[in-house]
């Protein structure tokens, strides 16, 4: 029985794209085709009209390709900021903050961030200074989250309550979602992570926390 590789009806990369961008385009178009679209080297390379070797030249490992895709995907999913923009609903503004906490700024790789954090804070017994550094960082992030909650509370979008506790809870959920993104979950990981943020945001906005 012949293979399914009939050469038919593959979407073609837009003309004028450089090889590297054709690869990103191909991977994006395949991710967009829903779960089950395996991002295999050969499948992506074929759609990008590029050899496997060329793909490997631009993205030395399959993981590197995935890491390069994350910012692109999240850019499509993430709304713009505007935390003080009272014209956008409070829920959207809170979610935007949580999503930005979840995904590193500037297209940095989430996996890189985890490798660094692991090395620095877990693998080797952290020194007193490093412990302090970590805690200061966490405190700052929580402080900013509390600010956002205070803003929303001033608008009446969040009922009175313990903002610090709420912020801690939201941080925990963000951390959990982050773990699940860096673990070898499937293409549905991003959807699940964002869904967890939705649930947490709703719990806070409804004064359930």
């Amino acid at each position: 029985m012949p293979t399914h590789r009939t050469g038919a009806a593959h979407p073609e990369p837009p003309a004028g794209l450089r090889s590297r961008d054709r690869i990103l385009w191909a991977a994006a178009s395949m991710l967009g085709e829903g779960p089950g679209a395996a991002l295999s080297v050969r499948a992506v390379a074929e759609r990008a009209r590029v050899s496997p070797g060329s793909l490997r030249h631009h993205f030395p490992t399959q993981r590197a390709l995935m890491d390069a895709m994350l910012p692109i995907v999240s850019e499509l999913v993430l709304p713009r900021d505007g935390i003080d923009d009272a014209s956008t609903p409070p829920r959207e503004r809170l979610l935007a903050v949580l999503r930005r906490l979840l995904l590193p700024e500037g297209g940095a790789s989430l996996r890189e961030a985890w490798l660094t954090a692991h090395e620095r804070y877990i693998a080797t017994e952290p020194s007193q200074a490093i412990r302090a550094e970590y805690r200061a960082l966490q405190r700052e992030l929580r402080r900013r989250l509390e600010e956002v909650l205070a803003t929303l509370r001033a608008e009446g979008a969040v009922p009175p309550g313990d903002d610090e506790r709420r912020a801690r809870f939201l941080m925990t959920v963000v951390n959990g979602a982050s773990v699940e993104l860096v673990m070898p979950n499937g293409d549905e990981a991003m959807r699940d992570a964002l869904d967890a943020l939705d649930v947490a945001a709703d719990a806070v906005l409804d004064g359930r926390v």
Copy 2:
């Protein structure tokens, strides 16, 4: 360069075991060896002193083998104590399950567990088999969580709703709390982690999710 298959020092299956049980024994012993031990057909078959074909005869798919392993593994991690004991309040029972998910059984170190998970799933590019293993394990844990939710729902302690979504959310919170326990937070970390579980459990029990 020669392969690593030196034929050396593989643990031998206990004598007198039937072929099917040798396979389960081999898979269990490999899971117990920590990172890098992929549950591939050939590796398991070799350790079980059985051909790949024979393995496939007893377990028609790799997924079937994993499914046969999971109850064994998850029983070690998540013993189902008094989940059906209706004399203790539902909230306490749910919290007990979440806390057992948070903390490794048998006094094992949470940090050890993280080091292993990091090594196995993040640091080195996980193979297809290891990815599948991780996802199967997560699926099994979530399934057990759904069972608990269904039990509580049958008692009227949890309003009707999407139990799978709730289970996913609870897993995310547990993961987040776990990260915060292993990170160099202060002595308040345990209090905060347990508090996050409280918040999440309340959100679910109140039908807020």
